[in-house]
């Protein structure tokens, strides 16, 4: 993909979606537009069920029936396969999910996929350093993921996606189930990713910090910028 420094990393225009609710179908996203630049961290807040998670899924092209225009560094989503798009616009779901196996197998999972067939998987030394960097020194690469705490799983799921070096990182309440120490490590890793030129969108519900350069509130299927 040819990079153009004058266009946002991610540009979404008029994103709408209708989902089924208890009282019938309703418009959960109503013409949402959002641009995120390289190195920028954007926070989205809002009440439970207002559509924050739905928006992230739409931006990852993971929402059935979503409409709107998406582009990545000026390249239309239509020109990229869904797999190539998701490899570049990476969503970390709120619930950390490990596949059965060891920590190593989980960290290397992205490189077992066809979309990264041309890339070489990181060596053990790189994986070890990455774990140490997120204060997971006590977790061996051979440990079965069934023996990880929720906080450890959340950080390993984040690490797994960070090591793929996406253009955009979308985090759905990344520290919702974490203690303060683990949440601080996730915040630090997110900050480092943005400092290296990555764009970040965070859906937040509980904690606040000073990382975000822009904040949006979601209500009635629409985004409103609250500070700049």
């Amino acid at each position: 993909m040819t990079e153009n420094p004058n266009v946002p990393v991610l540009c979404a225009t008029g994103v709408s979606a209708i989902v089924a609710g208890d009282a019938g179908d309703f418009r959960v996203l109503d013409g949402v537009s959002l641009e995120v630049d390289a190195g920028e961290i954007v926070d989205i807040t809002g009440s439970s069920g207002c559509g924050k998670t739905t928006l992230l899924r739409a931006l990852a092209r993971l929402l059935p029936g979503a409409v709107g225009t998406l582009s990545l560094r000026g390249v239309s989503a239509h020109d990229l396969t869904p797999q190539a798009w998701r490899a570049a616009v990476a969503l970390l779901p709120q619930k950390p999910t490990m596949v059965a196996g060891t920590v190593r197998e989980n960290l290397l999972l992205p490189w077992t996929l066809k979309v990264r067939a041309q890339q070489s998987a990181p060596e053990d030394a790189v994986l070890r350093a990455a774990l140490d960097g997120l204060h997971l020194s006590d977790v061996s690469l051979e440990r079965d993921t069934d023996r990880l705490s929720v906080g450890q799983q959340a950080r390993i799921a984040l690490l797994r996606i960070l090591m793929t070096n996406p253009s955009v990182l979308m985090l759905d309440e990344p520290d919702a189930n974490l203690d303060d120490a683990s949440a601080a490590q996730v915040t630090q890793a997110t900050s480092q990713f943005a400092s290296a030129g990555g764009a970040v969108i965070r859906v937040r519900h509980q904690r606040t910090d000073a990382l975000a350069s822009r904040r949006f509130s979601m209500c009635g299927g629409q985004l409103t910028e609250t500070t700049s």
Binding site: V19, A20, D25, A60, R61, L62, L63, P64, G65, P82, Q83, A84, R86, A87, A90, L91, L92, P93, K95, T97, V99, L109, P110, T112, L113, K114, V115, R116, A157, R160, I161, T164
Partner: protein, 270 residues
């Protein structure tokens, strides 16, 4: 009383005597208050009615000696089996009935005529006395394998919906996201066939061989038939379920290869 080919014919009185065994079973059910006496009576009556009707229909088809009649029976058997699969695999997506019909038609036709044409070498090729029972065994086993594999595949995918979301978010294709469920389901579908192959002749005398022995056949003539039948039904089971699963798993994914979780499926929005 003996009939043609050394078969001891069971008459109406003997059939009535056999019913006495079911009366004994029903009495046990009543005495132990199992609450199944009525179902037992209905099921027994159905067995009599269905098998006697089958005997009449097969006798009629055998008498017609027509390839079209044989092919018609095969299509009807395949259709009924496809409807049965749709009922036994409620987690499978819409369109499963048609795909199951196609999978069984391909597998059933291929295996049946390989066996009757190349192995047993019947003349003419449609000889109903051979083709219909063999197709019945092929379709019956194929139906069981397909129903089990489809049900396991789609219920496992639903159980793994969080993992499938994580995988697709990492860039997995539908096949890469669904493969663990498909492999588990295929293994589950194959195990009964493998167990049957392993236990044949030791734990039990398989049905076809038992039938031939009762009909007066030489055991060494009956054994090769049974071997062919067992290999045939195992192949039907495995190929049928593989074909059906491979043709259906993508129906759980929508446009942009998005996995359709329960809340996003048209059938869950009512």
């Amino acid at each position: 009383m003996s009939g043609a080919g050394g078969v001891i014919v069971i008459g109406w009185w003997q059939l009535a005597l056999a019913t006495g065994l079911m009366v004994l079973t029903g009495a046990l059910s009543v005495a132990l208050k199992l609450g199944v006496a009525k179902q037992l009576a209905i099921a027994t009556a159905r067995t009599y009615a269905q098998l006697l009707l089958l005997g009449l229909v097969l006798g009629w088809i055998f008498g017609l000696d027509s390839p079209w009649a044989v092919l018609g029976v095969l299509v009807i058997m395949t259709g009924v089996a496809a409807l049965t699969i749709a009922r036994r695999a409620p987690d499978a997506p819409a369109g499963t009935t048609g795909i199951s019909f196609l999978a069984m038609l391909l597998v059933g036709t291929f295996i049946t005529f390989v066996v009757t044409g190349l192995i047993v070498r019947v003349e003419p090729w449609y000889l109903p006395r051979y083709v219909i029972p063999i197709a019945g065994m092929v379709l019956g086993n194929s139906m069981n394998g397909i129903a089990l594999a489809l049900e396991r595949t789609f219920s496992d995918m639903d159980a793994r919906s969080g993992e499938i979301l994580a995988l697709t978010a990492l860039g997995a294709t539908p096949w890469e996201a669904a493969a663990p469920s498909i492999r588990r389901a295929m293994r589950a579908a194959m195990i009964p066939g493998i167990n049957t192959l392993s236990a044949a002749g030791i734990v039990f005398i398989p049905g076809m061989m038992a039938g031939q022995l009762l009909a007066g056949a030489d055991p060494m003539a009956a054994a090769p038939y049974q071997i062919v039948v067992m290999v045939m039904v195992a192949t039907a089971d495995i190929t049928g379920s593989t074909l059906a699963v491979m043709l259906t798993y993508r129906r759980r994914f929508g446009a942009d290869d998005i996995y359709l979780e329960r809340g996003y499926r048209p059938d869950s929005r009512s």
